[in-house]
Symmetry: C2
Subunit: 403 residues, 2 copies
Amino acid sequence: MQSLMVNVMIPPFSFARIPHIIFGAGKLNELYNIIPKFGNNVLFVIGGRSLQQSGIWDEITSNLERKSINFSSTSISSEPSPLLIDEVATKFRDKALNLVVGIGGGSVNDAGKSISAMLTKNDSIKNYLEGVGDKTHDGKKIPYIAIPTTSGTGSEATKNAVISEVGPDGFKKSLRHDNLIPNIAIVDPQLMISCPSSISAACGMDAFTQLLEAYVSSKGNPITDTFAYSGMKYMAENLLLACSTGSSDVNVRAAMAYGSLLSGITLANAGLGIIHGLASPIGGMFKIPHGVICGTLLSEATKINIEMLQKLGSEGRKRLKKHAQIGALLTGKYHVEEGMIYQYCSKLIETLEMWTNELKIDRLGKYGIKSEDVEKIVEKAGLKNNPVNLTTESIKTIILNRL
Amino acid sequence: MQSLMVNVMIPPFSFARIPHIIFGAGKLNELYNIIPKFGNNVLFVIGGRSLQQSGIWDEITSNLERKSINFSSTSISSEPSPLLIDEVATKFRDKALNLVVGIGGGSVNDAGKSISAMLTKNDSIKNYLEGVGDKTHDGKKIPYIAIPTTSGTGSEATKNAVISEVGPDGFKKSLRHDNLIPNIAIVDPQLMISCPSSISAACGMDAFTQLLEAYVSSKGNPITDTFAYSGMKYMAENLLLACSTGSSDVNVRAAMAYGSLLSGITLANAGLGIIHGLASPIGGMFKIPHGVICGTLLSEATKINIEMLQKLGSEGRKRLKKHAQIGALLTGKYHVEEGMIYQYCSKLIETLEMWTNELKIDRLGKYGIKSEDVEKIVEKAGLKNNPVNLTTESIKTIILNRL
């Protein structure tokens, strides 16, 4: 029985650099040997409370003191706004920092990346945000080390930092440059064990969304394909476990951290689809965690994408092979017979729906989004590198089915 | 039917950075836009003749002149020696170069990397070679762009440069540092079309050896596994074609170039095995192309490795799953049933033997290696990260069977 492969012809592609990755339980401790290579004056960007409450921050500071490393810290308690980044950059601009280290979830690492990039400038980050300002960042930054504590955004491996201003005219836009890819990513699954189930669930769904959107993206290449497939394999086997009986199992957390890391690498190189095209306006207009937006839209958007591809006849069927491969993967199968494409596509949708229910991913209505908001959201939405063109009506359907 | 996967638990690992990769037919032309970003004073390291004969070098120089880029060039006609690197580095050390660009096979790119690293020093490269000198290179270098014209060593993605002194006390040793990974790799399969069959064959076997040794290495991780597997998939489908009827097909060359690139990334992060552990002393003692050494030893060494693992009982059988996965891959199957491990291992050996014959890979005897040399070769050989321990006798058998 011959299996079915895609992408036999290799299209031209560009692959940005990836951070130096240090992966494994306990690897946080490498930090104290790495810092002196950059210098002795470090700014830590950390989250609101959990790092302090878990005792990890105390452990870090006493290690830094023992090593006579000069450090300051700043705390980020929500998705970063331009005002916040400007304030921190202004405060530390003349402090001759050698290194910025971010330890936290996606918001913390996006803030850390932005700060490291804005320390070298003399104006507001607003001027450099895509679709907001009229300047292009030149990539000059203070070296940055990313240490994720959730398995979600993959921010430890991406070249962009998402900055939000929430409100009726709000936005969620990126500061982006190849050189914003962190110098080093220390991925220590032990740091993720204290992450609560609801956050692990939303983050996990976000990472899986990134992997799936990159895998079926119109801009993918064999390297992003192989990364995305590997990441989904590990996440599929561990997502439900990480949010339930396996939440304290460091191997389960390692698999999730691996998937999340690869999701960052793949999205940076293959782009994303309609789910992230919607996450941007929804996150700008409403106060709702990014992971929840992606998680709640994942199965619906996948269903609509598959339906639209089915309508395209034989060309669509060809392009559905990649969805089918992931449907097969989710049932533990690593090959797709030619006659099984539609069945495995259905399996993909079913599994994503099951995850959405099992993980109790919130519906959008819970955050005050109403049917009358949908028009405005869709106006601002982008298709990004979605594998198929979508009508305005079908994009509306995705949101309406998740209100 | 459930497939069989390995490496479900993710071990701790470190993954070095990779070059910024620009891949595709015609991408050489990007060079002229990239150079000015580094500066206006460039040293080109090129091969002996083929680049000139194909007219590509003329095209490059006229483009450089049109863009008013100052350039010098130096030509490398064999595997680089310490003397050669020292001479070039001395000649160009005070020329305030902004960039070194290497266009050629593995020897040219290893030379280019070494020169870019030795321009920043004031002494001989011998002092910095592993197992030869007593100094450690600090990684400071002039930025380096690698442009391969063969699909072989993967040097465009590795952190080491192999330097050879041939003779009875000869050596083949590496200058190695994470920072020697090229800044950019431009992989343009059009440049490989003029590569003769015998060189394509030896280079292709070398790249496949690197992928297989990294895949079964004791130091692998899920990222190197997924890269190695993807590289072997494309190479397996295109190796024989690239050396015969498909040699002018840019898609065939692209698949080979992709496999070779990934072989460099994987070997840099997962290490190699007994074949490369033998290539080092053989290449130091005899004038024989590196690709021929690896190609000629590939099937024999794989056979011995599999035999030794079979002798280890259930533990060995577990470790043989990875060999079996590649045996399956070579027959177009992407899954291995539990009861089929030994059959697929045999299939792997058979296919490698078939390739060796079809590609007419030279035996070692052709280069003057005799049975009385084997003792001395084995004395100097290293196991590297071979998946199983080998006795001196079994290592001798590998060579004797290929004299």
